[in-house]
């Protein structure tokens, strides 16, 4: 048995065992969950080297699991994030109930994701896609009663996505006769051009729902914010990447050569752009930290989709680099918000304030997170953004560059609001009891921060696996060194020098400021501020958080009116009304039913020739 079989077996079996063990010995359950995730990680790393393939027949289709460079990329992401989230969950969920249910579903989701990434044929892809959907549904509605309608909305959208996948799979089966990925790709060409486009669009909608492209994103903000924090980190970090994994496959493996396909790509790119822009604008005016991060996560996915849809080698590299990075920094941010929730019990940005001195490490994690999201040089976000912009400019998407840049500049607003309202600002008496989160929750956060730093200094390390994956995707090559990035016009940026310069200047300036008059520099509390002579009482609240960006809101108010959510709820409601007319069909008294039978009989007799034709 090679490592892929081990991974899937251990994860799914582990899920079952944790559920059973939960009912018997409670502490053992956490240990088992962690070991299962750790062994998953171990086998994924082990599987990187070997090129394995498992084939076994099930109901006259043969199921093939194997790893390709492209899937290894995503598998490592899932393994690492899965392991870290479970490590984080141990303490976060310590005193919550129904933990067996929680861990089982978490491991099911991780197993489902492994399955998707390793499946080489459409049946197992769809099989694991559905497993991932319903187990994540059960996790979304884990917390409380309000989660029920949100969970239902999530399930309906992912069902729509999954069933459009199924229609595409069925069409492929009808056209090519079999479902193994390898020979589908060979004779994908001889499917008629129209069908190719239809299949591609269906697959894109299917995968698009999961990666929350604009028109299909409605479920994302609520589901991300209502599900428990450890799972949200995985949900937005890894689960949304499955959609991206699919889109990547469709855009490059199933790519039909017909002219129309380029139109599909352009529309997708522009959809990604609009997603990024509108999601960022919505994120700015949120008051709940998790809702804000949810919208920001949709925005970042918009960037990845743009990268894939533009299609030049550099933009694919940017997209895949962002995939890995987004997984890391989104998990970091959700975990640090979870840490705040763990200590203060709320993620409402208007009430929590001034935790920097009480939770320094969570502050550092969030600081690294927002620096990466904003794409400012020292950390990894910059390399991804740099590649994305270069590729967009070189591939003549001028106005898309402007939209993307406006979105990423507007991102500074909500990022600053997030870290300012939670950690900086007034240190209130109300939160004086808060202390740092336990060690086991800190380790994942710090590991991810370290990774983001390394990805910033040596992007090459992350770009190596990406270039292998791109080789597999469609032998796209792009020029890069361990810490120097090139664009098509030959310009380059040397991350090494950038970091050295920034580091050196920062160090010199830092030393100068600290040691200049060290003896006479003193720390004062946030109550000792210039309030024109007045002396604020101890519990007087001087925090400025409510309506933080009111002027900006007044400037762009018209843009915020359009909301797709209203349209969907409207559709949902009048569908409900439409089903009401059926009450008139099933009236409930025998006579009408008898009348139906007679009516049906007469109808058949009258139109017999028409219905059954003569040649019986």
């Amino acid at each position: 048995m090679n490592s892929i079989a081990y991974i899937l077996l251990i994860t799914f079996a582990g899920a079952g065992i944790t559920f059973i063990v939960h009912h018997l010995i409670k502490p053992l359950r956490d240990i088992i969950a962690i070991t299962v995730a750790a062994s998953g990680l171990y086998f994924v790393i082990q599987s990187l080297t070997e090129k394995t393939k498992i084939v076994f027949g099930i109901a006259d289709f043969n199921i093939i699991w194997g790893n390709t460079p492209y899937s290894n990329l995503f598998a490592v992401l899932i393994a690492v994030l899965g392991f870290l989230t479970i490590l984080y969950a141990r303490d976060f969920m310590a005193e919550k109930e129904r933990l067996g249910y929680f861990y089982m579903n978490l491991l099911f989701v991780i197993g489902g994701m492994y399955g998707i990434v390793y499946s080489q044929d459409l049946i197992s892809l769809f099989f694991f896609w559905e497993v991932m959907t319903w187990s994540s549904f059960l996790l979304v509605i884990y917390c409380c009663k309000e989660a029920q309608p949100i969970g239902l909305k999530y399930f309906v959208f992912s069902a729509i996505g999954a069933y459009s996948l199924l229609i595409a799979i069925v069409m492929i089966y009808a056209q090519t006769g079999n479902l193994e990925l390898s020979n589908i790709l060979q004779n994908f060409g001889n499917i008629s051009e129209v069908n190719q486009i239809v299949i591609a669009v269906l697959l894109l909608t299917g995968f698009g729902v999961k990666s929350a492209i604009m028109p299909l994103h409605v479920w994302a903000p609520d589901s991300y914010s209502i599900s428990p924090s450890p799972f949200t980190a995985l949900f937005s970090g890894a689960l949304s990447k499955m959609g991206i994994f699919g889109i990547g496959m469709v855009l490059f493996k199933f790519a039909s050569h017909s002219g129309y396909f380029s139109y599909v790509k352009i529309i997708l790119a522009w959809l990604g752009g609009i997603t990024a822009l509108l999601a960022t604008f919505y994120a700015i005016f949120q008051t709940d930290a998790k809702k804000l991060l949810a919208y920001s996560s949709i925005g970042q996915l918009g960037y990845i989709i743009i990268g894939l849809a533009v299609g030049t080698p550099l933009s694919i590299a940017a997209a895949l680099f962002l995939v890995i990075l987004h997984g890391a920094f989104k998990a970091m941010l959700f975990m640090s918000v979870g840490a705040v929730y763990f200590r203060t019990g709320t993620t409402d940005m208007n009430s929590v304030t001034g935790l920097i001195r009480k939770m320094p490490l969570s502050f550092v994690t969030m600081l690294f997170g927002i620096i990466t999201v904003s794409g400012v040089p020292p950390l990894g976000g910059f390399a991804a953004k740099w590649m994305l912009y270069e590729s967009l400019i070189q591939s003549k998407h001028y106005f898309l560059v402007i939209v993307v840049f406006a979105a990423s500049t507007a991102a500074f607003l909500y990022l600053y609001k997030l870290i300012f309202s939670l950690f900086l600002g007034q240190e209130e008496v109300e939160w004086s009891h808060v202390k740092e989160v336990p060690l086991l929750m800190l380790i994942p956060m710090l590991i991810l921060s370290a990774f983001v730093l390394v990805a910033g200094i040596f992007p090459g390390l992350v770009l190596d696996p990406i270039s292998h994956a791109m080789q597999y995707l469609g032998n796209y090559g792009f020029k890069y060194e361990t810490s120097v990035l090139f664009n098509e016009w030959g310009n380059k940026i040397n991350m090494q020098t950038v970091i050295n310069v920034i580091g050196a200047v920062f160090l010199i300036a830092g030393l100068f400021v600290t040691f200049k008059g060290l003896k006479k520099t003193r720390y004062v509390t946030t109550k000792d501020i210039h309030t024109s002579g007045e002396i604020p009482e101890e519990n007087e609240n001087l925090t400025y958080a409510v309506d933080f960006y009111k002027p900006f809101e007044r400037a762009i108010a018209p843009a915020l009116k359009a909301s797709i959510d209203k349209i969907y709820t409207a559709i949902g409601n009048n569908l409900e009304q439409a089903f009401d007319f059926l009450r008139y069909v099933y009236t409930g008294n025998g006579q009408t039913y008898a009348m139906y039978v007679v009516l049906f009989l007469s109808l058949l007799i009258l139109f017999a020739e028409l219905i059954f034709g003569i040649k019986l």
Binding site: K520, H530, S532, G533, E534
Partner: protein
């Protein structure tokens, strides 16, 4: 080639020269003298020639102007602002009300001699000195600084107890944070 004492002397000269030519005034007018400041700053008398500029917060400022009568209520705020300013700070008392109570010498509400409560470096007399007098006051302050004699802050720090005792005598319910200079 030159020992440590001379070096520190040269550094002091430069420091005093810089402090002399860049006096930032806290935007804080207490009495009727505050109206004298705009003309001194604007085109006719132009105090900016001497490097005198307004600053919004006590953290950034060097000079605290007490322009006119100082009621007990305002004294409490003035003390708080003074303590929030950074170390080489100077106080200039405008007009006779700060010197000996001026025309409010018999009022139940205003303090009669500013230097009992705050270390004053320069007094400018006149029942509201005209801009020329204000500028001459600043020039006097600049001389004191260059001679290193404008050590109001040091005096305040050294005999803080004496100042506190006077201040407590006037301000009934004290409730002020500690002065952690």
């Amino acid at each position: 080639m030159f020992n440590d004492k001379e070096a520190s002397k040269i550094v002091d000269i430069i420091k005093n020269f810089a402090r002399k030519h860049s006096l930032w005034v806290v935007a804080y007018g207490t009495g009727c003298g505050a109206i004298e400041l705009p003309p001194t700053m604007t085109s006719r008398y132009d105090a900016e020639r001497f490097g005198i500029r307004g600053s919004a917060t006590p953290r950034q400022a060097d000079v605290l102007l007490i322009t006119g009568y100082l009621s007990v209520k305002t004294l409490k705020r003035v003390i708080r602002t003074y303590e929030q300013m950074q170390e080489p700070k100077y106080v200039i008392g405008f007009g006779s009300c700060t010197i000996n109570g001026g025309m409010y010498w018999d009022s139940y509400n205003t303090i009669k001699a500013l230097d009992r409560y705050l270390p004053v470096d320069v007094y400018i007399n006149g029942c509201m000195p005209r801009p020329e007098a204000v500028i001459s006051g600043f020039i006097k302050l600049q001389q004191l600084i260059s001679e290193g004699k404008a050590d109001g802050a040091k005096r305040y720090r050294e005999n803080l107890e004496w100042y506190r005792e006077n201040q407590r005598k006037v301000i009934k319910n004290w409730r002020m944070p500690e002065y952690n200079w």
